[in-house]
Subunit: 269 residues, 2 copies
Protein backbone atom coordinates (compact mmCIF):
# COMPACT_ATOMS: atom_id res chain seq x y z
CA UNK A 1 0.00 0.00 0.00
CA UNK A 2 1.23 3.52 -0.81
CA UNK A 3 1.10 6.16 1.90
CA UNK A 4 0.11 9.67 0.72
CA UNK A 5 0.65 12.84 2.73
CA UNK A 6 -1.54 15.88 1.96
CA UNK A 7 -1.20 19.53 2.98
CA UNK A 8 -4.68 21.04 3.20
CA UNK A 9 -6.12 24.55 3.47
CA UNK A 10 -9.71 25.13 4.59
CA UNK A 11 -12.22 27.71 5.72
CA UNK A 12 -13.76 25.96 8.71
CA UNK A 13 -16.79 28.28 8.98
CA UNK A 14 -19.34 25.86 7.54
CA UNK A 15 -17.88 22.65 8.96
CA UNK A 16 -18.25 20.64 12.15
CA UNK A 17 -14.45 20.65 12.42
CA UNK A 18 -11.88 18.09 11.25
CA UNK A 19 -13.76 15.17 12.78
CA UNK A 20 -16.76 14.66 15.04
CA UNK A 21 -15.98 16.09 18.49
CA UNK A 22 -17.04 14.65 21.81
CA UNK A 23 -18.83 17.90 22.65
CA UNK A 24 -22.07 18.05 20.68
CA UNK A 25 -22.96 21.50 19.41
CA UNK A 26 -25.25 22.99 16.78
CA UNK A 27 -22.37 22.74 14.34
CA UNK A 28 -22.49 18.96 14.59
CA UNK A 29 -25.11 18.74 11.85
CA UNK A 30 -22.57 20.18 9.40
CA UNK A 31 -20.14 18.01 7.40
CA UNK A 32 -16.58 17.43 8.66
CA UNK A 33 -13.37 18.21 6.73
CA UNK A 34 -12.27 14.60 7.19
CA UNK A 35 -15.52 13.24 5.68
CA UNK A 36 -15.25 15.58 2.67
CA UNK A 37 -11.68 14.46 2.01
CA UNK A 38 -12.63 10.79 2.39
CA UNK A 39 -15.42 11.24 -0.13
CA UNK A 40 -13.16 13.08 -2.64
CA UNK A 41 -10.53 10.33 -2.28
CA UNK A 42 -13.23 7.74 -2.95
CA UNK A 43 -14.35 9.56 -6.09
CA UNK A 44 -10.76 9.70 -7.37
CA UNK A 45 -9.45 6.25 -6.34
CA UNK A 46 -12.61 4.19 -5.87
CA UNK A 47 -11.43 3.30 -2.35
CA UNK A 48 -12.92 4.15 1.05
CA UNK A 49 -9.82 4.99 3.09
CA UNK A 50 -9.13 6.26 6.61
CA UNK A 51 -7.80 9.82 6.57
CA UNK A 52 -5.47 10.55 9.52
CA UNK A 53 -5.21 14.25 10.38
CA UNK A 54 -2.31 15.84 12.26
CA UNK A 55 -4.59 18.07 14.33
CA UNK A 56 -8.30 17.70 15.10
CA UNK A 57 -9.42 21.27 14.53
CA UNK A 58 -12.75 22.24 16.16
CA UNK A 59 -15.87 23.45 14.36
CA UNK A 60 -15.22 26.90 12.86
CA UNK A 61 -11.40 26.63 13.07
CA UNK A 62 -9.47 27.19 9.83
CA UNK A 63 -6.26 25.75 8.42
CA UNK A 64 -3.61 26.95 6.01
CA UNK A 65 -1.36 23.93 6.55
CA UNK A 66 -3.25 20.98 8.00
CA UNK A 67 -1.47 17.69 7.24
CA UNK A 68 -3.17 14.34 6.68
CA UNK A 69 -2.20 10.93 5.34
CA UNK A 70 -3.99 7.90 3.92
CA UNK A 71 -3.08 4.49 2.50
CA UNK A 72 -4.07 3.63 -1.04
CA UNK A 73 -3.40 1.04 -3.71
CA UNK A 74 -4.23 3.56 -6.43
CA UNK A 75 -1.40 4.06 -8.89
CA UNK A 76 -2.27 7.72 -9.57
CA UNK A 77 0.84 9.89 -9.10
CA UNK A 78 0.89 12.19 -6.06
CA UNK A 79 1.17 15.19 -8.40
CA UNK A 80 -2.01 14.24 -10.27
CA UNK A 81 -3.90 13.62 -7.04
CA UNK A 82 -3.89 17.35 -6.19
CA UNK A 83 -6.08 18.65 -9.07
CA UNK A 84 -8.19 15.47 -9.00
CA UNK A 85 -9.05 15.86 -5.29
CA UNK A 86 -9.61 19.62 -5.64
CA UNK A 87 -12.05 18.93 -8.47
CA UNK A 88 -14.31 16.94 -6.13
CA UNK A 89 -13.78 18.97 -2.94
CA UNK A 90 -16.05 21.90 -2.02
CA UNK A 91 -14.42 25.31 -2.64
CA UNK A 92 -13.89 25.73 1.13
CA UNK A 93 -11.27 22.92 1.11
CA UNK A 94 -8.14 22.96 -1.07
CA UNK A 95 -5.43 20.31 -1.20
CA UNK A 96 -2.22 22.36 -1.53
CA UNK A 97 0.17 19.45 -2.09
CA UNK A 98 0.45 15.66 -2.07
CA UNK A 99 3.52 13.45 -1.80
CA UNK A 100 4.30 9.80 -1.31
CA UNK A 101 5.85 9.10 2.11
CA UNK A 102 7.26 5.97 3.81
CA UNK A 103 4.54 3.50 4.83
CA UNK A 104 5.20 4.03 8.57
CA UNK A 105 4.59 7.81 8.39
CA UNK A 106 1.60 8.95 10.50
CA UNK A 107 0.56 12.62 10.26
CA UNK A 108 -0.47 12.81 13.93
CA UNK A 109 2.06 10.59 15.73
CA UNK A 110 5.08 11.81 13.76
CA UNK A 111 4.27 15.52 14.17
CA UNK A 112 7.07 17.24 16.09
CA UNK A 113 5.19 20.51 16.59
CA UNK A 114 2.19 22.51 15.38
CA UNK A 115 1.90 26.22 14.78
CA UNK A 116 -1.46 27.90 15.39
CA UNK A 117 -2.46 31.54 14.98
CA UNK A 118 -5.29 33.25 16.84
CA UNK A 119 -6.42 36.56 15.28
CA UNK A 120 -8.18 39.38 17.09
CA UNK A 121 -9.53 42.47 15.33
CA UNK A 122 -8.58 45.07 17.92
CA UNK A 123 -10.43 48.03 16.49
CA UNK A 124 -13.63 49.90 17.39
CA UNK A 125 -15.31 48.77 14.15
CA UNK A 126 -15.89 45.25 12.84
CA UNK A 127 -14.99 44.29 9.26
CA UNK A 128 -17.19 42.61 6.66
CA UNK A 129 -14.89 40.87 4.22
CA UNK A 130 -12.87 38.68 6.61
CA UNK A 131 -15.60 38.43 9.27
CA UNK A 132 -15.14 34.68 9.77
CA UNK A 133 -11.37 34.95 10.34
CA UNK A 134 -11.11 37.03 13.51
CA UNK A 135 -12.63 37.64 16.93
CA UNK A 136 -13.69 41.26 17.36
CA UNK A 137 -12.36 42.87 20.54
CA UNK A 138 -13.13 46.61 20.24
CA UNK A 139 -11.55 47.86 23.50
CA UNK A 140 -7.93 49.01 24.02
CA UNK A 141 -5.34 46.36 24.89
CA UNK A 142 -1.97 46.69 26.57
CA UNK A 143 0.08 44.40 24.34
CA UNK A 144 3.29 44.76 26.38
CA UNK A 145 1.49 43.51 29.49
CA UNK A 146 0.12 40.55 27.55
CA UNK A 147 3.59 39.72 26.23
CA UNK A 148 4.97 39.89 29.75
CA UNK A 149 2.26 37.55 31.06
CA UNK A 150 2.68 35.11 28.17
CA UNK A 151 6.36 34.58 29.11
CA UNK A 152 5.39 32.06 31.79
CA UNK A 153 3.74 29.83 29.14
CA UNK A 154 7.04 29.04 27.44
CA UNK A 155 8.46 25.60 28.10
CA UNK A 156 7.01 22.41 29.59
CA UNK A 157 3.95 22.95 31.80
CA UNK A 158 0.72 21.34 32.90
CA UNK A 159 -1.83 23.38 30.90
CA UNK A 160 -4.91 21.95 32.65
CA UNK A 161 -6.01 25.50 33.57
CA UNK A 162 -6.63 26.33 29.91
CA UNK A 163 -8.30 23.19 28.68
CA UNK A 164 -11.87 21.93 28.82
CA UNK A 165 -13.08 18.48 29.88
CA UNK A 166 -9.79 16.82 30.75
CA UNK A 167 -10.21 13.65 32.78
CA UNK A 168 -8.22 13.59 36.00
CA UNK A 169 -5.89 10.95 34.64
CA UNK A 170 -5.39 12.65 31.25
CA UNK A 171 -1.87 13.87 30.56
CA UNK A 172 -2.23 17.65 30.28
CA UNK A 173 1.49 18.45 30.09
CA UNK A 174 2.61 20.15 26.87
CA UNK A 175 5.66 22.14 25.73
CA UNK A 176 5.17 25.58 24.18
CA UNK A 177 8.19 26.33 22.01
CA UNK A 178 7.27 29.91 21.12
CA UNK A 179 4.47 32.37 21.78
CA UNK A 180 4.44 35.62 19.81
CA UNK A 181 1.97 38.50 19.81
CA UNK A 182 2.19 40.51 16.58
CA UNK A 183 0.28 43.67 15.65
CA UNK A 184 -0.74 44.13 12.01
CA UNK A 185 -2.23 47.36 10.71
CA UNK A 186 -4.09 47.60 7.42
CA UNK A 187 -3.19 50.44 5.01
CA UNK A 188 -5.57 53.42 4.76
CA UNK A 189 -7.24 52.18 1.57
CA UNK A 190 -8.25 49.02 3.43
CA UNK A 191 -9.62 51.00 6.35
CA UNK A 192 -6.75 51.29 8.86
CA UNK A 193 -7.92 48.31 10.93
CA UNK A 194 -5.63 46.86 13.56
CA UNK A 195 -5.23 43.11 14.07
CA UNK A 196 -3.47 41.24 16.85
CA UNK A 197 -2.09 37.80 16.00
CA UNK A 198 -1.14 35.26 18.67
CA UNK A 199 1.24 32.78 17.02
CA UNK A 200 1.93 29.68 19.13
CA UNK A 201 4.16 26.69 18.46
CA UNK A 202 3.90 23.65 20.73
CA UNK A 203 4.50 19.91 20.62
CA UNK A 204 0.74 19.51 21.02
CA UNK A 205 -2.36 21.31 22.25
CA UNK A 206 -5.16 20.35 24.64
CA UNK A 207 -8.77 20.82 23.60
CA UNK A 208 -9.54 24.58 23.36
CA UNK A 209 -6.18 25.35 25.03
CA UNK A 210 -5.17 28.25 22.76
CA UNK A 211 -8.65 29.77 22.95
CA UNK A 212 -8.52 29.57 26.77
CA UNK A 213 -5.04 31.13 26.88
CA UNK A 214 -6.05 33.99 24.53
CA UNK A 215 -9.28 34.60 26.49
CA UNK A 216 -7.26 34.87 29.72
CA UNK A 217 -4.60 37.09 28.10
CA UNK A 218 -7.41 39.47 27.07
CA UNK A 219 -8.15 39.89 30.79
CA UNK A 220 -4.47 40.83 31.24
CA UNK A 221 -4.47 43.19 28.24
CA UNK A 222 -7.58 44.99 29.46
CA UNK A 223 -6.21 45.38 32.99
CA UNK A 224 -8.61 42.98 34.72
CA UNK A 225 -5.77 40.57 35.60
CA UNK A 226 -2.10 41.11 36.38
CA UNK A 227 0.73 39.19 34.68
CA UNK A 228 1.53 37.66 38.08
CA UNK A 229 -2.07 36.48 38.53
CA UNK A 230 -1.92 35.00 35.04
CA UNK A 231 1.01 32.86 36.14
CA UNK A 232 -0.94 31.80 39.22
CA UNK A 233 -3.84 30.68 36.99
CA UNK A 234 -1.45 28.47 35.01
CA UNK A 235 0.06 27.03 38.21
CA UNK A 236 -3.29 26.44 39.93
CA UNK A 237 -4.34 24.15 37.03
CA UNK A 238 -7.97 25.13 37.61
CA UNK A 239 -10.07 26.02 34.53
CA UNK A 240 -12.43 28.12 36.64
CA UNK A 241 -9.74 30.69 37.43
CA UNK A 242 -8.95 31.28 33.74
CA UNK A 243 -10.78 33.64 31.40
CA UNK A 244 -13.46 32.79 28.81
CA UNK A 245 -12.78 30.65 25.74
CA UNK A 246 -12.64 32.97 22.71
CA UNK A 247 -14.61 31.95 19.57
CA UNK A 248 -13.29 29.31 17.15
CA UNK A 249 -13.35 31.52 14.05
CA UNK A 250 -10.17 33.43 15.09
CA UNK A 251 -8.11 30.23 15.14
CA UNK A 252 -6.09 28.89 12.21
CA UNK A 253 -3.67 25.94 11.99
CA UNK A 254 -0.71 27.44 10.12
CA UNK A 255 1.73 24.55 9.94
CA UNK A 256 2.65 21.10 11.18
CA UNK A 257 6.36 20.39 11.56
CA UNK A 258 7.96 16.95 11.13
CA UNK A 259 11.47 15.68 11.68
CA UNK A 260 12.32 15.40 8.01
CA UNK A 261 10.63 18.71 7.27
CA UNK A 262 11.70 20.62 10.33
CA UNK A 263 11.71 24.12 8.88
CA UNK A 264 10.56 27.02 10.95
CA UNK A 265 7.42 28.75 9.53
CA UNK A 266 9.20 32.08 8.99
CA UNK A 267 11.79 30.33 6.83
CA UNK A 268 11.30 30.23 3.06
CA UNK A 269 10.52 26.62 2.14
CA UNK B 1 -33.73 67.51 6.88
CA UNK B 2 -30.21 66.38 7.75
CA UNK B 3 -28.12 64.68 5.07
CA UNK B 4 -25.94 61.77 6.26
CA UNK B 5 -23.06 60.31 4.29
CA UNK B 6 -21.95 56.74 5.03
CA UNK B 7 -18.82 54.82 4.03
CA UNK B 8 -19.70 51.13 3.74
CA UNK B 9 -17.76 47.86 3.48
CA UNK B 10 -19.42 44.66 2.28
CA UNK B 11 -18.86 41.12 1.13
CA UNK B 12 -21.13 40.97 -1.92
CA UNK B 13 -21.09 37.16 -2.22
CA UNK B 14 -24.58 36.56 -0.86
CA UNK B 15 -26.25 39.68 -2.26
CA UNK B 16 -28.03 40.61 -5.48
CA UNK B 17 -25.73 43.66 -5.69
CA UNK B 18 -26.23 47.22 -4.46
CA UNK B 19 -29.67 47.51 -6.04
CA UNK B 20 -31.85 45.44 -8.35
CA UNK B 21 -30.19 45.23 -11.79
CA UNK B 22 -31.93 45.29 -15.12
CA UNK B 23 -30.38 41.92 -15.97
CA UNK B 24 -32.22 39.20 -14.07
CA UNK B 25 -30.02 36.39 -12.82
CA UNK B 26 -30.25 33.64 -10.24
CA UNK B 27 -28.78 36.08 -7.73
CA UNK B 28 -31.90 38.24 -8.03
CA UNK B 29 -33.68 36.25 -5.34
CA UNK B 30 -31.03 37.41 -2.82
CA UNK B 31 -31.35 40.63 -0.82
CA UNK B 32 -29.64 43.84 -1.99
CA UNK B 33 -27.13 45.92 0.01
CA UNK B 34 -29.35 48.99 -0.44
CA UNK B 35 -32.40 47.19 0.98
CA UNK B 36 -30.43 45.95 4.03
CA UNK B 37 -29.19 49.49 4.75
CA UNK B 38 -32.69 50.93 4.33
CA UNK B 39 -34.04 48.40 6.80
CA UNK B 40 -31.28 49.08 9.36
CA UNK B 41 -31.87 52.85 9.04
CA UNK B 42 -35.58 52.21 9.62
CA UNK B 43 -34.85 50.21 12.76
CA UNK B 44 -32.60 52.98 14.10
CA UNK B 45 -34.54 56.11 13.08
CA UNK B 46 -38.09 54.84 12.53
CA UNK B 47 -38.01 56.36 9.04
CA UNK B 48 -38.18 54.69 5.62
CA UNK B 49 -35.60 56.68 3.64
CA UNK B 50 -34.12 56.51 0.14
CA UNK B 51 -30.46 55.42 0.23
CA UNK B 52 -28.43 56.88 -2.66
CA UNK B 53 -25.32 54.86 -3.50
CA UNK B 54 -22.25 56.23 -5.29
CA UNK B 55 -21.80 53.11 -7.39
CA UNK B 56 -24.32 50.36 -8.24
CA UNK B 57 -22.16 47.31 -7.68
CA UNK B 58 -23.35 44.10 -9.37
CA UNK B 59 -24.29 40.84 -7.63
CA UNK B 60 -21.18 39.28 -6.08
CA UNK B 61 -19.09 42.49 -6.22
CA UNK B 62 -17.54 43.66 -2.93
CA UNK B 63 -16.79 47.10 -1.47
CA UNK B 64 -14.28 48.46 1.01
CA UNK B 65 -15.32 52.07 0.49
CA UNK B 66 -18.80 52.35 -1.02
CA UNK B 67 -20.36 55.76 -0.25
CA UNK B 68 -24.08 56.40 0.25
CA UNK B 69 -26.24 59.21 1.60
CA UNK B 70 -29.77 59.59 2.96
CA UNK B 71 -31.97 62.35 4.37
CA UNK B 72 -33.32 62.04 7.88
CA UNK B 73 -35.02 64.11 10.55
CA UNK B 74 -33.56 61.89 13.28
CA UNK B 75 -31.50 63.82 15.81
CA UNK B 76 -29.10 60.92 16.48
CA UNK B 77 -25.50 62.13 16.07
CA UNK B 78 -23.58 60.81 13.05
CA UNK B 79 -21.06 59.22 15.43
CA UNK B 80 -23.75 57.23 17.24
CA UNK B 81 -25.33 56.12 13.95
CA UNK B 82 -22.33 53.90 13.14
CA UNK B 83 -22.66 51.32 15.97
CA UNK B 84 -26.47 51.56 15.83
CA UNK B 85 -26.61 50.67 12.11
CA UNK B 86 -23.96 47.95 12.47
CA UNK B 87 -26.02 46.40 15.26
CA UNK B 88 -28.92 45.80 12.86
CA UNK B 89 -26.94 45.05 9.69
CA UNK B 90 -25.96 41.48 8.74
CA UNK B 91 -22.26 40.71 9.42
CA UNK B 92 -21.53 40.93 5.66
CA UNK B 93 -22.19 44.70 5.71
CA UNK B 94 -20.33 47.16 7.96
CA UNK B 95 -20.82 50.93 8.12
CA UNK B 96 -17.26 52.25 8.54
CA UNK B 97 -18.14 55.91 9.13
CA UNK B 98 -21.01 58.42 9.08
CA UNK B 99 -20.92 62.20 8.86
CA UNK B 100 -23.35 65.03 8.37
CA UNK B 101 -22.92 66.72 4.97
CA UNK B 102 -24.54 69.75 3.28
CA UNK B 103 -28.11 69.08 2.18
CA UNK B 104 -27.23 69.32 -1.53
CA UNK B 105 -24.58 66.54 -1.33
CA UNK B 106 -25.41 63.50 -3.48
CA UNK B 107 -23.13 60.46 -3.24
CA UNK B 108 -23.54 59.55 -6.93
CA UNK B 109 -23.74 62.93 -8.71
CA UNK B 110 -20.98 64.59 -6.67
CA UNK B 111 -18.50 61.71 -7.07
CA UNK B 112 -15.42 62.92 -8.91
CA UNK B 113 -13.93 59.47 -9.43
CA UNK B 114 -14.16 55.86 -8.26
CA UNK B 115 -11.38 53.38 -7.65
CA UNK B 116 -12.04 49.69 -8.31
CA UNK B 117 -9.75 46.70 -7.89
CA UNK B 118 -10.04 43.44 -9.80
CA UNK B 119 -8.11 40.53 -8.24
CA UNK B 120 -6.87 37.45 -10.06
CA UNK B 121 -5.25 34.50 -8.29
CA UNK B 122 -2.53 33.71 -10.83
CA UNK B 123 -1.32 30.43 -9.42
CA UNK B 124 -1.73 26.76 -10.36
CA UNK B 125 -3.72 26.06 -7.16
CA UNK B 126 -6.91 27.69 -5.90
CA UNK B 127 -7.20 28.96 -2.31
CA UNK B 128 -9.93 28.18 0.23
CA UNK B 129 -9.98 31.05 2.70
CA UNK B 130 -10.45 34.01 0.31
CA UNK B 131 -12.24 31.99 -2.41
CA UNK B 132 -14.96 34.64 -2.93
CA UNK B 133 -12.47 37.49 -3.42
CA UNK B 134 -10.58 36.47 -6.56
CA UNK B 135 -10.93 34.92 -10.01
CA UNK B 136 -8.67 31.90 -10.42
CA UNK B 137 -6.54 32.04 -13.55
CA UNK B 138 -4.00 29.18 -13.24
CA UNK B 139 -1.99 29.71 -16.46
CA UNK B 140 1.10 31.93 -16.90
CA UNK B 141 0.54 35.60 -17.75
CA UNK B 142 2.87 38.12 -19.34
CA UNK B 143 2.23 41.12 -17.08
CA UNK B 144 4.48 43.48 -19.05
CA UNK B 145 2.46 42.83 -22.23
CA UNK B 146 -0.77 43.50 -20.33
CA UNK B 147 0.64 46.77 -18.94
CA UNK B 148 1.68 47.80 -22.45
CA UNK B 149 -1.80 47.07 -23.84
CA UNK B 150 -3.56 48.84 -20.95
CA UNK B 151 -1.74 52.11 -21.80
CA UNK B 152 -4.29 52.87 -24.52
CA UNK B 153 -7.09 52.87 -21.94
CA UNK B 154 -5.79 55.97 -20.16
CA UNK B 155 -7.69 59.18 -20.82
CA UNK B 156 -11.06 59.95 -22.38
CA UNK B 157 -12.44 57.21 -24.64
CA UNK B 158 -15.64 55.61 -25.82
CA UNK B 159 -15.59 52.33 -23.87
CA UNK B 160 -18.56 50.75 -25.71
CA UNK B 161 -16.35 47.74 -26.62
CA UNK B 162 -16.13 46.70 -22.97
CA UNK B 163 -19.67 47.22 -21.78
CA UNK B 164 -22.81 45.13 -22.00
CA UNK B 165 -26.25 46.26 -23.09
CA UNK B 166 -25.58 49.91 -23.91
CA UNK B 167 -28.36 51.51 -25.96
CA UNK B 168 -27.18 53.17 -29.17
CA UNK B 169 -27.88 56.62 -27.79
CA UNK B 170 -26.28 55.96 -24.39
CA UNK B 171 -23.19 58.02 -23.64
CA UNK B 172 -20.41 55.45 -23.30
CA UNK B 173 -17.53 57.94 -23.03
CA UNK B 174 -15.57 57.78 -19.77
CA UNK B 175 -12.17 58.99 -18.55
CA UNK B 176 -9.76 56.50 -16.98
CA UNK B 177 -7.37 58.44 -14.74
CA UNK B 178 -5.10 55.54 -13.85
CA UNK B 179 -4.79 51.83 -14.54
CA UNK B 180 -2.26 49.82 -12.56
CA UNK B 181 -1.43 46.12 -12.58
CA UNK B 182 0.24 45.06 -9.34
CA UNK B 183 1.62 41.62 -8.40
CA UNK B 184 1.30 40.51 -4.79
CA UNK B 185 2.96 37.36 -3.48
CA UNK B 186 1.96 35.71 -0.22
CA UNK B 187 4.72 34.69 2.23
CA UNK B 188 5.67 31.00 2.47
CA UNK B 189 3.63 30.36 5.62
CA UNK B 190 0.51 31.47 3.71
CA UNK B 191 1.32 29.19 0.80
CA UNK B 192 3.34 31.35 -1.64
CA UNK B 193 0.31 32.23 -3.79
CA UNK B 194 0.58 34.97 -6.40
CA UNK B 195 -2.16 37.54 -6.94
CA UNK B 196 -2.56 40.10 -9.71
CA UNK B 197 -4.50 43.25 -8.86
CA UNK B 198 -5.92 45.57 -11.53
CA UNK B 199 -6.50 48.95 -9.85
CA UNK B 200 -8.51 51.39 -11.97
CA UNK B 201 -9.58 54.96 -11.27
CA UNK B 202 -12.11 56.61 -13.58
CA UNK B 203 -14.76 59.33 -13.48
CA UNK B 204 -17.32 56.57 -13.98
CA UNK B 205 -17.72 53.04 -15.26
CA UNK B 206 -20.13 51.40 -17.70
CA UNK B 207 -21.95 48.21 -16.73
CA UNK B 208 -19.40 45.33 -16.48
CA UNK B 209 -16.74 47.58 -18.07
CA UNK B 210 -13.84 46.60 -15.76
CA UNK B 211 -14.73 42.91 -16.03
CA UNK B 212 -14.75 43.19 -19.83
CA UNK B 213 -11.40 45.03 -19.85
CA UNK B 214 -9.76 42.47 -17.51
CA UNK B 215 -11.18 39.56 -19.54
CA UNK B 216 -9.69 41.04 -22.71
CA UNK B 217 -6.35 41.80 -21.02
CA UNK B 218 -6.16 38.12 -20.03
CA UNK B 219 -6.19 37.32 -23.77
CA UNK B 220 -3.22 39.69 -24.12
CA UNK B 221 -1.39 38.24 -21.10
CA UNK B 222 -1.80 34.68 -22.38
CA UNK B 223 -0.59 35.58 -25.88
CA UNK B 224 -3.92 35.14 -27.68
CA UNK B 225 -4.14 38.87 -28.53
CA UNK B 226 -1.47 41.50 -29.22
CA UNK B 227 -1.34 44.91 -27.46
CA UNK B 228 -2.03 46.50 -30.86
CA UNK B 229 -5.12 44.35 -31.41
CA UNK B 230 -6.28 45.31 -27.91
CA UNK B 231 -6.21 48.95 -28.97
CA UNK B 232 -8.16 48.07 -32.11
CA UNK B 233 -10.85 46.41 -29.94
CA UNK B 234 -11.22 49.63 -27.95
CA UNK B 235 -11.40 51.72 -31.11
CA UNK B 236 -13.86 49.42 -32.90
CA UNK B 237 -16.36 49.91 -30.04
CA UNK B 238 -17.75 46.44 -30.72
CA UNK B 239 -18.36 44.19 -27.68
CA UNK B 240 -18.06 41.05 -29.82
CA UNK B 241 -14.38 41.67 -30.52
CA UNK B 242 -13.50 41.91 -26.81
CA UNK B 243 -12.76 38.99 -24.48
CA UNK B 244 -15.10 37.33 -21.98
CA UNK B 245 -16.46 39.12 -18.90
CA UNK B 246 -14.58 37.80 -15.84
CA UNK B 247 -16.65 36.81 -12.74
CA UNK B 248 -18.01 39.42 -10.33
CA UNK B 249 -16.32 38.02 -7.20
CA UNK B 250 -12.87 39.42 -8.16
CA UNK B 251 -14.20 42.98 -8.20
CA UNK B 252 -14.11 45.37 -5.24
CA UNK B 253 -15.01 49.07 -4.99
CA UNK B 254 -12.07 50.52 -3.04
CA UNK B 255 -12.91 54.20 -2.83
CA UNK B 256 -15.09 57.03 -4.07
CA UNK B 257 -13.41 60.42 -4.38
CA UNK B 258 -15.18 63.77 -3.93
CA UNK B 259 -14.04 67.33 -4.42
CA UNK B 260 -13.78 68.10 -0.73
CA UNK B 261 -12.14 64.75 -0.05
CA UNK B 262 -9.90 64.55 -3.07
CA UNK B 263 -7.10 62.44 -1.65
CA UNK B 264 -5.45 59.79 -3.74
CA UNK B 265 -6.00 56.25 -2.35
CA UNK B 266 -2.29 55.63 -1.77
CA UNK B 267 -2.06 58.73 0.43
CA UNK B 268 -2.45 58.36 4.18
CA UNK B 269 -5.80 59.93 5.08
Amino acid sequence: MRNIRLVIEYDGTNFAGWQEQRTKTKAQCLPTIQACLREAIHKVTGEWVTVYGASRTDAGVHALGQVANFKTSSRLSAKRLVPALNYYLPREIVVRSAEEVPEEFHSQYNARSKVYRYTILNDPLPRAIDRNLYYHYPWPLNVERMREAAQCLLGKHDFRAFCVEAHNKENTVRTIKSFEIVREGLPAIYGNSSYLHFVVEADGFLHKMIRGIVGTLLLVGSGKMGPKEFKEVLEARNRRLAGPTVPARGLCLLKVNYEENGTWPGQPT
